[in-house]
Amino acid sequence: MTDSIDGQPGHLHPLSSAIREIDTIFTKLGFTIALGPELETEFYNFDALNIPADHPARDMQDTFWLKPAQGIKSKDRKVLRTHTSPVQIRYMEAHASTGKPMRIIVPGKVFRNEATDATHEAQFHQIEGLYVDKKVSLAQLKGTLETFFKEFFGQDVKLRFRPSFFPFVEPGVEVDIFFNNKWLEVMGAGLVHPNVFKAAGLDPVIWQGFAFGGGIDRLVMIKHGIPDVRLLYQGDLRLINQF
């Protein structure tokens, strides 16, 4: 039972709250936010991330394509970004000439062309992370993510890596956390693939990096016990005003 609240402040959407928390945790680790467009080119969304055309890896993400405009070259074809990873490329391109290490996180909306249900939505939010330096290891990736998840979910959270595959990292891992007595798959991660560095204008002989990405919606659902991802996009204050 709730008492009424006229004249009170409004409520921040739980996804925005999560993004602020993520930002706070990663700012302490030296990361800064980078942003990018939701409407991407085929080049940034796929090719530059080592996902060539006519490769089975393209099937890993169901993609929304835009009606093609006249005279557009294939690599400039537009897609609704299927992940926040294109911002890795855009950021590295823009900062390659500085010769400095990079630490960014990228929150943003992404799109998948798949039937919706309680755990799938055609639009959702992702958080991407990228760390670039001269020497980067899987152990550092593990340490960074462990710090993040402990801060976000609580200090008793455990974390594990499982081998996986994402074309833009090598090796690639699936990140699971142990929370509420079960293992949950929460992120994909790995060390930046040399082809990704090349596409972004960095020399893979000099630079190494790690990257990670996962659904913010899922983190919010796990944390607050929200059973259906679609509740987040109804503009419904019965949900939002609870937070």
Binding site: Q8, T27, E38, D54, Q123, L138, F165, I240
Partner: protein, 638 residues
């Protein structure tokens, strides 16, 4: 991919771990097992093979190889050799010409005579049925068995239905073919076919034609094992809309070294099943297949492996794992390895990938968690993020709640080529529509929400022909109870307050009756750079979501006169006690005192999570409250 536990066991002399244990081992160290299903005395594992391993692991042998890498169990190799009998009257296999060696690296054919086509032996049909494959006939089943056992797709033609020699060539534009299952295809000139002198026998690597189909009356066959170009197969299979176990393996680049083994293996099985059969091999090898074996050497240091994994794995552990993978150590000196990678595994020539393999076989759980070097400067704050969040804070302070609505809508200026549904075919050109729908929805729930005014906003990307993609900002108000100001006046006032708070004018947009919307792009740009290290507060913590009932709510008002000294709390106490959990919200909306009596008027909202409340049920609750109140000394429900 479905994998039979008993079938996997045939690769090992010693018993496998239990299906559950095996599933866990594979999930943690190589690929996810998405399910285990009991089938008779067997267990079927659903293995999720991702594109990086699909070239070798879409088969029982491929999965068995992984088991051998992760346990002490030794995997038996597949051994299959054709008998190459000498015949007095040698067979006359057709000649084979590969006109597109780039697209068909290798083509191995076997002519087999004197066979009979019938039911498969149970040994084969049962295995196929366990993994969900229908038994068709003794020849087709053997081909499928080999595919699921070792990963090489195969095809068989009825030799007596073919005319002349075999050519692997590009199709002619408009060339027609009917598939085995009766689908008519019109081919493009970039597609690849296997043809005889008259026309296509098969769409290479994807589907056989009905012309030379193997049937119960077939006596002589041509068995085909080939290696087709992955990108071509993928493109063709997408174009004709045929995806099957053969196309899937080819598009994932099944190694050319599998071709010969597949041909030998299948023909040996066919010979075993047909005592009278005779066989003869013919083949053509494309130019690309003659690879330089020197390209398969790779050099790396122990330091590099330790550096990438971030753990102190020893030289002897690295050596043990490489040998287990079946690779030859050419030299090992002062922490530097030079090894020979077996050709099917050429993806491991990429050093980070090789190190990843060493790491996961050694065990990712052994990787420690370490920290990053201290960052030298305070992180810069993203300007767009900073000011967007600032605006949100100002609005929240003024009672607005943030909504997020759908980017895909039924109307817009930018259209999708492949919409999920007809009402989601466009990208939104504004936020107004989502805001209006949200205002309506929340207005209907105003009593439940306890609001006299719905005040919401959204900041999100919109897409127009003229301006492309840009961040838009919309806020909306809907008055439920009459307010001092009209919605549009309060909206204008709010915009002014934002400009005041941020100290920068110029937030201009479109104002309708109850929605204001503005392009934020230029306004955000006009704001100054934020200071490094600035953070935003949240108040949510670990709060748990309370389910929203899908049943309607009901509203009742109650007003009661009580003696002057009775507080609002005492009235509330009775309401709460007597209504139980059906009361979801209450609000004191009127208080006045007259003749030493105070009147409290409450608005009560009732709702159940289990059903629609009936009039009677609500009246019963109201009666309980009323009776209890009227029983009080000097209490009188009005």
């Amino acid at each position: 991919m479905k994998v039979s536990y008993n079938w996997l066991q045939t690769y090992f002399e010693k018993p496998l771990p239990s299906p559950e244990k095996l599933a866990e081992l594979l999930t943690l160290n190589v690929f996810e097992i998405e399910g285990i299903e009991k089938v008779d005395d067997d267990a079927v594992l659903d293995v999720k093979v991702l594109p990086d391993r699909a070239y070798y692991a879409l088969s029982h042998e491929g999965v068995a190889r992984e088991i051998s890498l992760l346990t002490d169990l030794e995997k038996q190799p597949i051994s299959a050799t054709m008998r190459f009998d000498k015949y007095d009257d040698p067979l006359d296999p057709p000649s084979i010409t590969v006109l597109e060696p780039e697209l068909c690296q290798k083509y191995v054919g076997v002519r087999i005579e004197n066979i009979s086509v019938g039911k498969s032996p149970e040994l084969i049909s049962k295995k196929l049925e366990t993994i969900g494959q229908r038994s068709i006939n003794s020849i087709v089943d053997i081909l499928n068995y080999v595919l699921f056992d070792m990963g090489q797709p195969l095809h068989a033609f009825d030799a007596d239905k073919m005319k002349g020699s075999i050519t692997v060539r590009k199709a002619k534009k408009g060339e027609k073919m009917t598939t085995l299952d009766g689908k008519d295809l019109t081919l493009e000139d970039w597609m690849l076919v296997v043809a005889d002198d008259e026309g296509p026998l098969a769409l290479a690597g994807i589907k056989g034609g009905n012309k030379a189909a193997v049937t119960e009356s077939t006596k002589n066959i041509i068995l085909e094992a080939a290696n087709f170009n992955p990108a071509l197969i993928r493109k063709t299979s997408n174009a004709v809309g045929i995806k099957n176990d053969s196309s899937k393996r080819f598009e994932n680049a099944v190694p050319a070294s599998f071709t010969g083994l597949g041909a030998h293996y299948a023909s040996a099985l066919i010979r075993d099943a047909n005592e009278q059969a005779r066989e003869s091999l013919f083949q053509e090898v494309g130019v690309d297949f003659h690879e330089n074996l020197d390209d398969y050497y790779v050099t790396f240091t122990v330091d590099y492996v330790q550096e990438i994994l971030g753990m102190p794995i020893s030289t002897s552990d690295i050596k043990r794992i490489i040998e287990k993978m079946g690779f030859t150590i050419h030299s090992e000196m002062k922490g530097t390895f030079r090894i020979y990678i077996n050709p099917p595994y050429k993806d491991l020539l990429l050093l980070p990938r090789l190190v990843g393999e060493i790491g996961r076989i050694y065990g990712y759980e052994k990787i420690p968690a370490t920290t990053l070097p201290k960052s030298t400067s305070k992180p810069k704050v993203n300007k767009i993020f900073y000011w967007t969040e600032k605006i949100k804070d100002i609005l929240i302070e003024h009672g607005f709640s943030e909504v997020m609505t759908y980017s895909l809508q039924s109307k817009g200026e930018v259209e999708l080529a492949n919409a999920l549904a007809s009402d989601k075919g466009y990208l939104r050109a504004n936020l107004e529509r989502g805001i209006k729908e949200s205002l309506e929805l929340n207005a209907r729930n105003a009593d439940l929400l306890g609001l006299e005014q719905i005040k919401i906003f959204e900041i999100g990307r919109v897409f127009t022909k003229e301006k492309g993609e840009y961040p838009s900002f919309a806020l909306g108000i809907k008055n439920i109870k009459k307010q001092k100001r009209k919605e549009s006046e309060e909206l204008q006032e709010t915009i002014r307050k934002i400009s005041e708070a941020l100290g920068v004018q110029g937030l201009e947009g479109k104002l309708t009756e109850n929605v204001f919307e503005a392009n934020l792009d230029e306004y955000l740009e006009s704001l100054p750079e934020p200071k490094p290290g600035e953070l935003f507060k949240t108040t949510v913590g670990h709060k748990k979501y309370e389910p929203i009932s899908s049943y309607p709510f009901a509203v009742r008002d109650i007003a009661v006169f009580v003696p002057e000294n009775i507080s609002e709390k005492e009235v509330e106490k009775i309401i709460i006690e007597k209504s139980g959990k059906l009361l979801v919200r209450k609000k004191l909306f009127d208080v006045f005192t007259k003749n030493q009596k105070t009147s409290y008027a409450f608005r009560l909202v009732f709702q159940s999570h289990e059903k629609t409340l009936t009039e009677d049920e609500i009246n019963t609750v109201m009666k309980k409250i009323t009776d209890e109140m009227n029983g009080g000394e000097g209490w009188q429900v009005r």
